[in-house]
Symmetry: D2
Subunit: 379 residues, 4 copies
């Protein structure tokens, strides 16, 4: 006799794409969430997931997804879906059109798309950095739902390593050059003839995202509890983004001008002691360490470090004085785990930890007794 | 009946390594220089070049080199060599030990090694940038010879693109992140297991070279004609160097703080009008354009641009305002052509154009009638 | 004053794709043919070539093509085109539909497409192997034109190395495993996520082409001069085709059962002495050696050998006894030069050498006085 | 209070190399074996493992190995080692010299080296294929020890997929072309300049190993129990071996001439039903399925299939009629797991399952009660 599955049913939009596949993989055997529904463009609708997907991750299609029938993404879908929690791996244009419909229909949408990241109603969350911003999860045009956005895959790694520095010393400026992995472009994505024996110094829209998103993520929750808002952090970011022949793992060469003179030891201590909000302890997708410094002279490397903390830890190395800006270092984070599906899952887990529940359900739905549900907006 | 070969005989030290092979290739059919002697470590000495070399460039071993017998690099070699002009592709330690011996024996040594680049007796030359520094070619410890150094392979590209900006606007600071090709590490060099699906954010010694060499290259020739010296340029450079899975072509992501506010058009005009010293016109290895701006949004790329100007042109793209330092752009130059053997050949050609001659020879040795030989040190 | 350009004007169909670009590159400065017209799908029609093409070959768009305006590929095009000679880089379906229309309109079509290769009216030509098959160039459905097909890119290399063995010793069976380059799949072609750190053991349709085309190429010209036909060669071919992370150059691991016992020396002599039809001497695209054996233990390699003979020579190595079939070896040929555009050009040159002329023109159109025009079908 | 660790202590020779590292990783948390000693060349001796190793696998150095002090591989080592079971990752020459010394000193040596594979005293084991050959584990020159050899990394995959066919239908001949991964060459191994954008059609010694080892592995245990020997299987194998730019996973394109006419279904059934010796059930390193057929048209691929069965399953695909030999297919197996350290571990586990015990120990040492220990040599 089997105990009933009390996990929260979830839907994945854009489930056949690369980020969608990562969602499907990570949800297999998730302790709090159960993959219940998948949706894709109308031309795949009605097919079994295992038949429609071009599965391109190691291993087989997860058992929980094999027989799910793809729903069509259309205006009616928000009402047809049963799941109260929706992960979106939609392309930007579709995201902009459809995600608000799901929110208005009462869903909690956690999205990996860039469309609404800078929308003032949408919290842009890196859980260890700005959990408090979830206070922004107000009603969406008077509907009961909400949208939580996951930042750009490169921004997340940058935000993780800048946040401890911003908190301890202040950060005035950051100069970032990225060496980004191919999986970030999805599928078919970068043509092999452009990737082999080459670097492409251009990723459409990416440099702007890196310049603007950190200000919101590192910003201060302002306003009052009834009308919270984000006051942008004043740091200045300049980014140059390159595509390199790496499968997974974005490397960031970062130089920073901090708010004051600090020692090498102080910086290492800031990273080493960084844990983020207390609520994160024990969340299923939270890594033990959000930031890990590796002092090998040739660390971090995508091959060796992208899977640290099950792909959820940003690994830093090569901290050195920078004659131009003060300090420089190299950071690496996994772009489809921490930078996409894994980060979005952690956002949803954080929402639950802060008390979000599907309507009509109780905390026991999570199958964990001691979940601390805050009764007010923490700052 | 064949006309006698009046080209200047030259020797290549370290002729079997990767840069040595590039020298051998480029000297095949060179109009001014004739490959006459090759040298390598004593364990290869006495063997035919074609037998001793692990030829790893496209095409066959050049006919001019096939039957040359490798001389042993030892203390006697400087006296045994007949060639008045010596190209060195030696490793740093050997270079430091042996190159001065060749200079003292009266040879003109043009070296690709880093050992003596910052030595005040050695001009560090990018021909289009600081031809006048050849005035430093004084006698080496009272011997008749001299040493000319080729800068680091990444520094050369940087110097080419900074020089027009320094001249027109002043450059106060440059922040550089490199994505460097595998051929820069020679052979066996980077293990394939470190290169495939990876980035290595560390190249021993490279970041220091990029920080120090530009100051000398962009420096001002000072002192008087009898005792010339270089006054270092005060610009500050910070560099982060990465190895990526590219065969040839170093990509540099550069941000600069210029000496004054300038427009995008002014920068493009500075690059577009850059030609370098008048003496360079018509040198066999000189490209038509030392710097070429490509305004495609995804230029420059190693695959598409490394061979522009037969590998001697630095290609720039993606000029954009940088919120942190002022302007940013991406530059690309071929690391084993412009950045090594090709650059060294151009240095030697420049020396000839400025009047250097093997002792006992005349200008007619070059087979070109109209060579302008300056009768005094130009500034 | 410029002498008039008397070269034969030619058109390229599918001029913006990868093979189309190779045609455009190779026609730049071709001594006999002048690129006069380009055509592509209707959606590109009317645009300047330089604007419409995503140029992805080293160097810039050839000057001869920059300002050509793309014609639309439609039913009217065969009559609108002026050029008597048409190179086709069309996809299979378009080729099947349109190429016969051009032939009926009196054009000589030399095609790289697979659609009509096994059609009994179409000679399938590797010039050094079966020049005589051009006798098949009869009228196309009573029109004055004709179609010449270039074999599959892997088949060409195989045919070149098998032909001397078939002629000297007979070949009963060939077992081929290919390691094929990415450029063979065109653009976008293979996704980088499928190519990096991977092998794909499947190329749609390829194994069948390798199994069937050699029989026609190595076949005997039969019938009489008025109604020539090809008697298929009885050799049996089995092929397994893999895509590997190589840009250009198909590697073929071949094992053969010959018609009789032969020595290693005899095989090497067969390859070494292979030259093909006398008519090939001096054709602009003909390599000095169609087949070159390299006895280095690790030859041939794509990097080192794909450009031998300007990419028109098949390089062979590692000839060894095979315990199963008799002899085995490894062959390499450039898939977009010899295997596509270069091979097609050589076919057209051969047709000219055999006497084909645009209607209303004379041999002097070629700018070469001594072209031997056979007055009857050679066998 | 901790229960005492009753696992069998084992030593790893050549522990710092790539295969040595795989042994160390796989032994971390092995249920039967405990990594107790590590040895390497005298120049590393005396150093902590974590200090001496250039760890190049994902994750950190396993805790069980970090503080082990490297013993020097010398003539005295066999007597100094306490461990009764020794895994050897030595290079061939060292293996030939030292492994017999360990055997004479009473150790059970399981080796990945090729030196002694064809020695008539040494069983060459693929556990699912020829477990019975362990009967060859006689005394080594009258000493109490023994040597078990792991076949060549490519041979293992081939033997796994041929064994069911040999058993069911007979195999007369196999033609194999390999596309082998870079990790097979160890470290530094293949230079990146030879691997990127290239194929190297030569791996020293490899083609011979593939030609000879299958005959021994598929051979019949003959002689009597007191003097067992192997009667070689008469199949003929011809192999061509290539190195390709893949990290892990050898791809084998195989064509076979079977002993009789069989249907596709019969072949698939032979593979599907293949399990190997009953003793293998439940061995810690044994995969559920030794051979798995994947009927996707583009399977198997290194990226997608090398980790199937934790890297211990050979994945087969593309079964098709072969016009030359009868049937052809593509097989893939992980070269450093199944093909090296994982295969060796499984051999050792099999030896234990068949009753091998360290002197003075009992079955309970294994911590598993129901181990079936055969009391006579099974055939």
């Amino acid at each position: 006799m089997q105990t009933p599955d009390t996990r929260i049913p979830v839907a994945v939009l854009g489930a056949t794409g690369m980020v969608g596949q990562r969602f499907v993989s990570l949800l297999e055997a998730h302790p709090w969430f159960r993959l219940a529904e998948v949706a894709a463009s109308p031309r795949s609708a009605g097919r079994r997931y295992a038949d429609a997907v071009v599965w391109s991750s190691p291993g087989a299609v997860p058992a929980s997804a094999v027989d799910l029938v793809l729903a069509a993404l259309d205006d009616e879908l928000p009402r047809r879906l049963d799941s109260p929690l929706v992960f979106s791996a939609l392309d930007t244009d579709l995201a902009r059109e459809f995600e608000p419909l799901f929110a208005r229909a009462g869903k909690l949408v956690v999205t990996n798309a860039s469309a609404l990241r800078m929308d003032p109603r949408v919290p842009l969350i890196v859980p260890e950095v700005n959990a408090a911003h979830l206070a922004l999860m107000e009603r969406w045009d008077d509907g009961p739902g909400a949208i939580i956005a996951n930042p750009n895959c490169s921004t997340i790694g940058l935000a993780l390593v800048l946040a401890p520095l911003a908190r301890e010393f202040g950060v005035e400026a950051a100069h970032v050059v990225t060496l980004q992995a191919l999986s970030g472009a999805g599928r078919p994505g970068v043509a092999s003839l452009d990737a082999l024996d080459n670097v492409v110094p251009y990723i459409p829209g990416e440099e702007d995202k890196l310049a603007t998103e950190p200000g919101k993520i590192l910003g201060r929750l302002a306003g009052d509890a009834g009308a919270p808002s984000i006051e942008l952090h004043p740091l200045v970011v300049s980014a140059q983004c390159n595509r390199v022949a790496v499968r997974d793992g974005h490397t960031l060469c970062v130089s920073v001008r901090l708010g004051r003179q600090v020692s090498r030891e102080a910086i290492l201590a800031a990273w080493g002691g960084f844990r983020g909000d207390e609520l994160l302890r024990g969340l299923p997708s939270a890594p033990e360490l959000p930031v890990l410094y590796d002092d090998a002279p040739n660390a971090p490397q995508p091959l060796l470090h992208r899977d640290v903390g099950r792909g959820m830890t940003a690994v830093v190395g090569r901290l050195q004085p920078c004659a131009v800006l003060g300090w420089r270092f190299v950071a690496l984070s996994h772009n489809t785990l921490r930078g996409a599906a894994g980060g979005a899952l952690l956002c949803a887990e954080l929402a639950v930890a802060r008390g979000w529940r599907p309507r009509g359900s109780g905390a026991q739905a999570l199958g964990r007794p001691a979940l601390r549900v805050p009764d007010r907006v923490p700052r």
